[in-house]
Symmetry: C2
C-alpha cells in the first residue's frame, strides 16, 4: 500500500526517527516491540525469515527492486519519501535507500536452545557489528544458537541485523535474565568453554571437547568477567604471535567456532 509522505514530522514515520541514536532507539524499539531492517538484501532476509512488517520506508527508485516483497504485504503501508526526507527523519544518509520496520519476533525458548549441541554465549558484547558478526559466524558454521547476557548489545538492532547478514532473524537466540542462567546450560550437560587470552589456559589445538559445548565470549575491552570465568569448566585460548594485538572478538569467535564445531 503506497503512501506518499512529504512531512518529516508525520507521526506515521515514528518507527524511523533518529536511527543513529542507539540509546533512544533501544528504548523506542523495546517499548514498541519493533526492529529495523536496512537495505534490500536484509529486507529480503526478513521476508524469508517470516518477519511481520509494520511498514516500509522507501525512496521511489527502490520500489521496483522490492516489488515482490511489497506485493506479499499489500496491506502494510509503504511510505514513499524523498532521499532528503529519509535523511531528515532517520538522521543519516540512508544506505541504499530502503528501510522497513518489523514486529520483533519472540526470542527462542530455552528448551530449543538447550536441545542444541553447540551454543555461543556472549557476555556484554557492546559493539553491534560484533554481535551481528558472531551470529553470522555461528549460523555459517552450523552452531545451534546464541545466548546473550542481560547487558549484551541487541542482536536485532539495525546494525547488528545488517552485519549478521540476517542471521539474527534465522538463528535461534535469546537474552539471559541474569548470570544464574548459566546453570541451565550446565544442567543440560553443556561444557562451558571460556574463550580467553589468559596465559596458562588450554591451547585451542589441544582441546577436543566431548558432548555439548557452550562457548563463552567476553566483552571487547576486558574479556569475560571473573564470575563467568569461574563458572566455566575450562579456559581455552588461541595461541598468538607475541607483541601482536589479539584478534577482534568476532574473528576469534570464528576460529574457535570452527575448531570446536
Amino acid at each position: 500500500m503506497l503512501v506518499e509522505v512529504t512531512d518529516a514530522a508525520d507521526p506515521r514515520l515514528g518507527d524511523y526517527v533518529s536511527l543513529r541514536d542507539s540509546k533512544l532507539r533501544r528504548n523506542l524499539e523495546q517499548a514498541e516491540g519493533l526492529f529495523i531492517a536496512e537495505g534490500e538484501k536484509i529486507i529480503r532476509r526478513a521476508a524469508e525469515a517470516g518477519a511481520r512488517p509494520r511498514s516500509f520506508l522507501l525512496q521511489e527508485r527502490w520500489l521496483a527492486g522490492l516489488d515482490d516483497v511489497l506485493a506479499g504485504h499489500a496491506d502494510v503501508p509503504c511510505y514513499v519519501v524523498s532521499a532528503e526526507l529519509a535523511e531528515r527523519v532517520s538522521g543519516f544518509h540512508v544506505h541504499r535507500g530502503a528501510l522497513a520496520s518489523y514486529v520483533r519476533p519472540p526470542e527462542a525458548p530455552w528448551e530449543q536452545l538447550l536441545g542444541a549441541k553447540r551454543l555461543v554465549v556472549c557476555e556484554d558484547i557492546v559493539d553491534h557489528t560484533n554481535i551481528g558478526s558472531i551470529l553470522r559466524v555461528a549460523a555459517a558454521l552450523g552452531w545451534g544458537g546464541v545466548v546473550v547476557s542481560a547487558t549484551c548489545a541487541d542482536p536485532l538492532y539495525r546494525r547488528a541485523v545488517k552485519s549478521s547478514m540476517g542471521a539474527s532473524l534465522q538463528l535461534p537466540w535469546r537474552r539471559m535474565a541474569d548470570d544464574d542462567e548459566l546453570q541451565l546450560l550446565r544442567a543440560a550437560g553443556f561444557t562451558l568453554v571460556a574463550a580467553t587470552l589468559t596465559p596458562g589456559s588450554v591451547a585451542l589445538d589441544e582441546y577436543r571437547p566431548e558432548g555439548r559445548v557452550a562457548l563463552l565470549l567476553g566483552n571487547e575491552g576486558h574479556g569475560l568477567s571473573r564470575r563467568w570465568q569461574e563458572a566455566a569448566d575450562v579456559a581455552v585460548t588461541i595461541p598468538m604471535a607475541e607483541g601482536i594485538d589479539s584478534l577482534n572478538v568476532a574473528t576469534a569467535a570464528a576460529v574457535m567456532a570452527y575448531v570446536l564445531r
Copy 2:
C-alpha cells in the same frame, strides 16, 4: 615543532585533504609517497614501527596524549588546528582528533617474503577494512607476510592501517607487478592453496599441507579469478551450513590461517 594553522587552504596541510575521497587519495599518496595514520593508537604503532613522519595534524586537546611521540620528532611540524578546520580540510569528522602523515616505507623485498613458511596472497580485495583485517589476522597468527595483487586495495590506506591495528606497518608485505609473479612462489617451494566456496574442493579439515604454504584469497564479490584458481595446487573450502551466506573474506582468512598455520 608546534605550528598553529587557521586557514584551511594553507598548502602545508596538503597531505590531509579530502581523506574520504579514496580515488583522489590513492593518486595523491602514491605521487607524494605518503600514508596517513589516524588516532593516537595507530600513531603510536607507526612510531614503534619506525615510520618517518612528514607532519602531524592535531587538535590542541590531543597534544598532551602524544607528548612523548612529538618529543621524539621535534624537527617535524605539528600543525595545531581547531576541530572545525580539521574537518574542513579532511572532509570528515576526525575520529579522536589526531592525524599524522608519514613517508611510505618501502615494500618488503621478494627475498624476505619467499623466506617465510606461510604467506597470505590477496587477489583484488577491494575493501580497505578487509585488507587491513587480513593483515591483522596474518600477524596475530604468526604468518610471515602478505602479498597483494596489482589491483588489490592499498594496505597503507588510512582505513586499512586502522583496521590492521598497525599490522600494515609491521608485517612484511609487497604488491605484485603482475599475476606471473605467482610463479615466484611456486619456484620457492610454496604450495598454492586457493580458498574457495566451490563444491568439490577439499574440506579444510581434511587438508594438512606439508612445507611452505601460500594461501590465496579472492575478491569479496566473485572470489579468485579463473587464472588464480588454475595456478593453485589445491582448492580448499570451509564447510558451511546450507542456505547461509559465506563468511566474510577476513573471517574466512582467520579460520584458514589458523588451521593451516
